[in-house]
């Protein structure tokens, strides 16, 4: 267990701890309903993970991650919806065999862009490729022209607004404001009962760890070093002969694909998809998960997502009025006092104490943060 390309010892222990927490502790202690809630929260962790790569390392703040979450989610939901709308299930409709919301909107045949979603292989490819290519187009258009920072944030936000309005407006094709509901089976396998929820949870955790590994790889490769260098002094990297735009596009695409996988998982685990997860408000909320966890910390993103969502659920259940105050205060506190989030607190306050306790033996037994990267606030 010595250092290698992917992680050093402390990161390995951190990942193992997270694995034990997600795979053993949570399933043993929570009932199926709560476990399904965790599954729902973890779908956002994919987005937060992508933001760590794109925002934490690359310094590119995207306020449109909901777009990619939505694209992935809608791809998955379209497949599930088509399967749920088989002619036998929908024979009471005036046109059997098309999704119910199309029937309500007087559409009599399946639109062309829906047809390929009969195939699961195509759907899986689409979940990765559609958001990936979309991000590639936006990224190329913006970064090649050296648009960055705040402008990029505002434009991604506008894209999120556009997609939401489009989905809500084109009710016949997308299900409108209600989204795609009543998703039932995946290749004939019912996704609704409890045991299916548990299987889906473990599948999701598996995917999450694959994404964590990819993020770890990006961080420890030369690519990750260049991303960090670019964030700190973009011009120097450019003058050193690197194509800054291409690295930014790559980071943005990785974030987009992660978000899309999260969206697809959302459709599977939660059983519906709606435009309320696409727009500006959810997109910015996803940024706060990353910020709370620590924008430089891969594992922090997962913990931050879980923590904020647990707080949201429990606070908004008991004190619905307080929740927005709490969330708003959280934004301000994280920005003003803890720019490196939970991981920063851990690295600055908790870890030194643990180190001191066992300093006689090994240094840094665990941790989510790599001080060599965490040093210095990400300058814009």
């Amino acid at each position: 267990m010595t250092d290698n390309r992917f992680f050093n010892r402390s990161e390995l222990i951190g990942i193992l701890l997270l694995a034990v927490f997600l795979v053993v502790v949570l399933p043993l202690t929570l009932d199926v309903f709560r476990l399904n809630l965790v599954a729902k929260y973890l779908t956002y962790a994919f987005v937060a993970l992508g933001l760590v790569v794109c925002w934490g390392y690359g310094g590119i703040l995207s306020l449109g991650q909901g777009v990619f979450f939505g694209l992935g989610g809608y791809c998955m939901a379209m497949f599930l919806k088509l399967e749920a709308s088989s002619p036998e299930n929908t024979k009471i409709q005036s046109t059997p065999g098309i999704p119910d919301f199309m029937d309500w909107n007087q559409i009599t045949s399946l639109p062309l862009f829906w047809k390929p979603f009969h195939s699961l292989t195509f759907t899986i490819a689409a979940i990765i490729l559609v958001p990936g290519i979309f991000a590639l187009i936006i990224g190329t258009a913006m970064f090649k022209r050296r648009v960055g920072g705040t402008y990029f944030a505002i434009i991604t936000q506008a894209v999120a607004a556009i997609l939401t309005i489009l989905i809500v407006g084109q009710q016949g094709y997308t299900g409108g404001i209600n989204g795609m509901t009543d998703l039932r089976t995946l290749k004939g396998w019912d996704i609704r009962p409890d045991h299916a929820k548990i299987v889906l949870y473990f599948f999701e955790v598996g995917c999450l760890f694959v994404c964590i590994m990819i993020a770890q790889f990006v961080r420890h490769s030369k690519l990750g070093r260049i991303l960090v260098a670019m964030r700190e002094k973009e011009d120097r990297v450019r003058f050193s002969g690197y194509s800054v735009a291409n690295f930014k596009i790559f980071a943005f695409c990785v974030a987009a694909v992660f978000a899309a996988i999260g969206g697809a998982m959302f459709a599977l685990n939660v059983g519906f998809m709606s435009p309320s997860f696409v727009g500006i408000v959810p997109s910015i909320e996803m940024v706060i998960y990353t910020a709370v966890g620590g924008r430089l910390s891969i594992l922090g993103a997962v913990y931050g997502t879980l923590l904020v969502n647990f707080a949201k659920t429990s606070l908004s259940e008991t004190f619905p009025e307080l929740w927005l105050f709490g969330l708003g205060g959280l934004f301000i506190a994280v920005v003003l006092a803890f720019p490196n989030g939970l991981a920063g607190i851990w690295g600055d306050y908790v870890q030194p104490r643990i180190d001191r306790l066992i300093s006689s033996r090994k240094p840094k037994p665990e941790g989510w943060t790599d001080s060599s990267v965490a040093d210095g606030a990400p300058a814009e």
């Binding site: 703040l61 306020l63 258009a141 913006m142 022209r145 050296r146 648009v147 920072g149 705040t150 402008y151 944030a153 505002i154 434009i155 936000q157 506008a158 894209v159 607004a161 556009i162 309005i165 489009l166 809500v168 407006g169 500006i280 408000v281 910015i284 940024v287 706060i288 910020a291 009025e321 927005l324 105050f325 969330l327 708003g328 205060g329 959280l330 934004f331 301000i332 994280v334 920005v335 003003l336 720019p339 606030a377 300058a379 814009e380």
Partner: protein
């Protein structure tokens, strides 16, 4: 798409839709003016701008209620007092926010975005707790009701005309303050070179605070004007914030003329398209066009040529 209308009808449609667009234009300009000052001049992304506007709207609503109850004889003139109160309330809150929050973040523009978003959530909830979740509308004084008949098929509402006149006045006022007054010169000096401005004796912190306050105050006036044409709810501000940012970015930050030109083109495109297709598609097409143009010309319509 023009098939069913005669030429005269079409002319009237364009004039009427153009006028509806002008009202939208007024709101955009008023919102965007404040934002252009804050974002364009100071580089701060103020996501809470919509909430400052809504604060102005609520102040106007309270003033109108006050006049209705206690001074019904002066009701026809309440709006002018309300506007001043809205400016003062939003401006004061803006200066407080600058002092507590923004001044720590000038070097981190992306973080101002997150912090002000948090601020906007807090303000929204505060509005909801204080004024209730339902939208409120003000009663317009008698002289603002009704409409002017320009020709047989064209009529324009008086409150719209009033809002437009107000917009013109405020725009001229802002342009004067920014480009002709001593204080405006200081603001522009700080924007161009903060260190040098400080070196020649300008109190940059004070300039920042008043600039931010002015931007927020104008947002308050925008909210005041907004009550004449729509009702106010705790989250109304959020509906406009993205559009307004696009207006500022599209016009080229730091250019007041650009802001006005882009507000005009965006609002006119949107309201003209709205007649021929559903409102949502009109909005999608307009925003898409703006984003598309911004991808081709990232510096916006009117850009200052500065060496970086």
């Amino acid at each position: 798409m023009f098939g069913d209308y005669s030429l005269g009808d079409l002319g009237s449609i364009f004039v009427m839709q153009g006028f509806a667009g002008l009202i939208l234009f007024s709101v955009y300009v008023l919102m965007a003016l404040g934002l252009a000052i804050i974002f364009g001049q100071m580089g701060v992304i103020n996501m809470a701008h919509g909430e400052f506007m809504i604060l102005g709207a609520y102040v106007t609503w309270m003033t109108s209620n006050f006049f209705q109850t206690y001074l019904p004889s002066l009701f026809s003139g309440y709006f002018f007092l309300a506007m001043i109160l809205a400016f003062v309330a939003s401006g004061a809150l803006g200066m407080l926010v600058e002092w507590v929050l923004i001044r720590h973040l000038y070097k981190r523009p992306l973080d101002t975005l997150l912090a002000t978003w948090g601020l906007s959530l807090i303000l929204q909830q505060a509005f909801r707790s204080v004024f209730g979740a339902r939208e409120v509308g003000v009663d317009l004084p008698q002289w603002m009701l009704g409409s002017l008949h320009v020709s047989e098929s064209i009529e324009v509402p008086i409150n719209g005309v009033f809002v437009m006149c107000l917009t013109v006045l405020i725009t001229v006022g802002v342009a004067y303050v920014m480009y002709k007054s001593r204080w405006g010169r200081q603001v522009r000096a700080v924007v161009q070179n903060r260190i040098m401005a400080g070196a020649v004796g300008i109190n940059t912190e004070k300039v920042d605070r008043y600039t931010y306050g002015l931007g927020c105050g104008i947002a308050g006036v925008a909210g005041s004007a907004f009550t004449m044409i729509g009702s106010t709810g705790p989250t109304s501000g959020q509906l406009y914030i993205v559009d307004t940012f696009l207006v500022v970015v599209f016009g080229g930050a730091a250019s007041l003329l650009g802001t006005i030109a882009s507000a005009f083109s965006i609002s006119q495109t949107q309201s003209t398209l709205e007649f021929f297709m559903s409102g949502s598609m009109a909005k999608v097409l307009t925003l898409l066009a703006v984003v598309g143009i911004l991808m081709l010309r990232p510096q916006g319509l009117f850009a200052l040529k500065v060496r970086k």
